[in-house]
Amino acid sequence: MEPGSLIFATVKFLPALLLAFGIVSAHAQEADTLAPQRLEELVITATRTERTMGALPMPVMLVPKNQIRTMGSLRLTEVLTEQTGLAVVPQVNGQGSGIQIQGLNPDYTLVLLNGEPLIGRYTGSLELSRIAVGNIKQIEIVKGPSSSLYGSDALAGVVNIITERPEGTRGHLYSRYGTNNTLDMSAEYGTTHGRWSLYGFVNRYSTDGYDLSPQNYGKTVSPFFSYTGNLRVGYSFSPRTELVVSGRYFREKQQFDFEVLSSNNEKIRTSGDGLTSDWNFNPVLTHRLSDRAKLTARFYATGYQTETRLVNPATDTVYYTDNFRQGFMRPEANLEYFAGKQHALTFGAGANLESVETGRYGDAVARNQETTYGFVQDEWTPSERLNVIGGLRFDYNNIYGSQFSPKLSLRYELSKSISLKGSYGVGFKAPDFRQLYLNFNNTAAGGYSVLGTEVVEGRLAEMNAQGLLSGYLIDPSQLGNLEAERSHAFNVGGRATVFRKLTADLNFFYNSIDNLIETQAVAVTTANQTIYSYRNIKRVFTQGLEANLSYPLTQRISLSLGYQLLYAKDADVVDQVEQGQVFWRDPETLVTRRLKPEEYFGLYNRSRHMGNFKIFYSHKGWEGSARVIYRGPYGMGDIRGNIQGEVLPPSDINGNGILDVYDHFVSGYAQVNLSVARSLESGLRLQVGVDNLLDYTDPIYIPNLPGRLLYASVGYTFHRKTKTNN
């Protein structure tokens, strides 16, 4: 069958197809996972119901299990780094990393596990290396806002991790060992018996970490180990009704030994532990009311906590402690209903209950917030060539008020080989707990305080009464009242299949946020230290182009090429530069000049060009891959010194606080990753590989990029239902 006619057939029989792929029988597509650009790939994230990827009117990417296996990856960050347009950027505090989509910070991407949000945004972005990939069935990435379905945080995009479901009886044992004494061991077992299904996964990951700056005491990444457990039990009450209960537990312990700079710039050696854990519990009940209607009731509860304690062994005193606990609970119900052949409707309602407790808020009191929401979506197929998806969601929050998030997407099939897509959506991101409640005093030299908007007014009044304040910098009545950040986004593009089977996907994107939350100096103490709070004051936009080409060279070899062009800028800075109000001072000659509009580069941590080139090979039990991932030069802004206490020079070296072409840029770099695997009839699978073959490192600016990593793994699968080529 031609790919084009497949889309045709899919669109035409969408409703019937959907019913066939209810939750009970959702594993049907697992059988053949070979061809990399299959059009029948099903994704659930874009519409909350399973749909063929090719028919969706918005930009969607899918990373299937077989690709993750061929890549030899262990953690989620490794997989996401290699996807077009996704940049793994270090977190603001220099520890860990998050994912940047369409040039927006990691805080603006919602990360879901089986449709439910992962929590633990301790410093804004989620640490995605805490997710093991051994139990992942596929990773779905929807770009552009999806707040119309998912509410807050789904502004730049949504990453949804779909974990494995049992199909027949299958067990899998796996172990990988590599550079830095990194050992990964996992076991998987799934079975179905009558009305019951069971799936379990356990993983242990340990590493000695690595040291990119051996001249300094301690390591760049300290040694750690972690355990992940995942259990899923399903029971069918009838062919119409099924209950699935799943849960996850994760625990990580890191052993720190490092030198920190005291406020007097003395080097103090400290040691201690960092503990992180999370758990979740997720029962989902589905019931088919009729051939046209399906009801789903979901409950999700999750907890996250992290604690760091550093001791100065020389004096046996506690040097630093930090802790963070977060809880989240969500009941939700939704109804899918097919109104005639043209409309597939989805209705949903639910509530989020969240609480956070951390020493950084100045007390041990838990802060809570509640959101109630409802959404509706209509997938309309007026003709065989056109499909339209409209969605609207309403969120009411007890702190920041209400949000309407609409989205409209459409796809039109110009011919069997060319389709056009376009979407407009509104995304939003609620102020996080940190922005509301932080009560933080930086103790470094020239220290400062940051106060959340819910506490700033009271705390400043208190300080003023005590005579500690030398003055306000803004009218105190303007303090507080933080709003949710809202974006408007357009995605326009299409897909064409030409020259035999060369598939080209193209997407232009534009995101703008007019009320970005930014720290603003609000008062000065009598000791001349600045106090900051948060306000909705910044305007930014990101725009660019993403292109993906894939080509099956032969039955065995497939090639793909990905590219993203990105312009991410501060709209106010653009205006100021155009008005000639921005200057730069040569740090050597101290001569000041006016900045020209074309000399403003844009926001920090954004590469103008990113790309990848991949070759995958698969034939008769052999599989292999060669992947080149490139990230172009970028400026480094809001990053503190790296973990070894080094002071990180910022990119802005010429006194205008913005990134211009005369500033310092982090060099562009390419990672080359190779892997080869052999599967045997006995169920054994052997793999060797190397990540970062060229051993590219940048100890100061890219501490999260280890050098060359060699690894070898062995896996054993028993009782496979179907024989696969890998």
């Binding site: 930086n442 030299a445 000041t592 006016r594 606080g657």
Partner: protein
């Protein structure tokens, strides 16, 4: 084209003549361009407290500066009009309003230091710390006045293109550009460098004119 070139040559000739005139003739020059290095602005003698981050051993007194003398004025003279600006940490006060008995005023002008050839006729502010928010002629806070503060690196950087124009109590004009907040003006300062030391260049018009040429 030919005419333009001729004019250019002519101009150059005039300029060269003027320049050589200035060299030979010391008489009517009213302009002095100078650079002040490492003006201390209450640096903490005991460093910073490791727990609170508060500076230790600060006097909370402003270092007073006079453009006329190009030197620091003793704190004993703080109640006189002998000083123009006072420096403490990142705060710069001007001798008037709630800050001093003088009648000086100041404003922050956006532009290239060398291109500002005449002081603005109006717009000179004074300090008033009794209002809420307090108003300062040279606004305080990151991004508001003369500096940006990077909370990630704890570095204060003078904003390029911010020129402070001062009208002294005697009605004379001065323009100044702050170049560094750190001792010995490191090209790429870090929080490890000693802060609260100003380096700035200024031009003081000692005559009755408001021009800086």
């Amino acid at each position: 084209m030919k005419i333009n070139r001729f004019i250019l040559v002519l101009f150059s000739a005039v300029l060269i003549t003027l320049a050589s005139c200035q060299k030979d003739d010391p008489a009517p020059v009213t302009i002095s361009a100078s650079t002040v290095t490492n003006l201390p602005a209450d640096p903490p003698s005991g460093g910073y407290d490791p727990m609170s981050g508060q500076p230790i051993g600060v006097t909370k007194k402003f270092t007073l500066f006079s453009f006329k003398t190009g030197a620091i004025v003793a704190n004993a003279d703080s109640a006189t009009a002998n000083w123009d600006l006072g420096f403490n940490g990142t705060t710069i006060i001007v001798n008037s309003g709630t800050s001093g008995p003088g009648t000086a005023g100041a404003q922050v002008v956006t532009g290239v230091f060398d291109e500002i050839l005449e002081a603005p006729a109006s717009g000179y502010g004074t300090d008033n710390k009794t209002t809420v928010p307090a108003t300062y002629a040279i606004p305080r806070g990151s991004g508001n006045g003369w500096y940006n503060y990077n909370p990630s690196t704890n570095v204060i950087s003078p904003i390029a293109g911010r020129v402070i124009v001062v009208k002294t109590s005697e009605g004379k004009y001065a323009k100044m550009e702050i170049l560094s907040y750190y001792k010995d003006s490191p090209a790429a300062p870090s929080s490890g460098d000693i802060d609260r030391h100003y380096t700035f260049r200024y031009v003081y018009q000692s005559g009755a004119s408001s021009t800086f040429e």
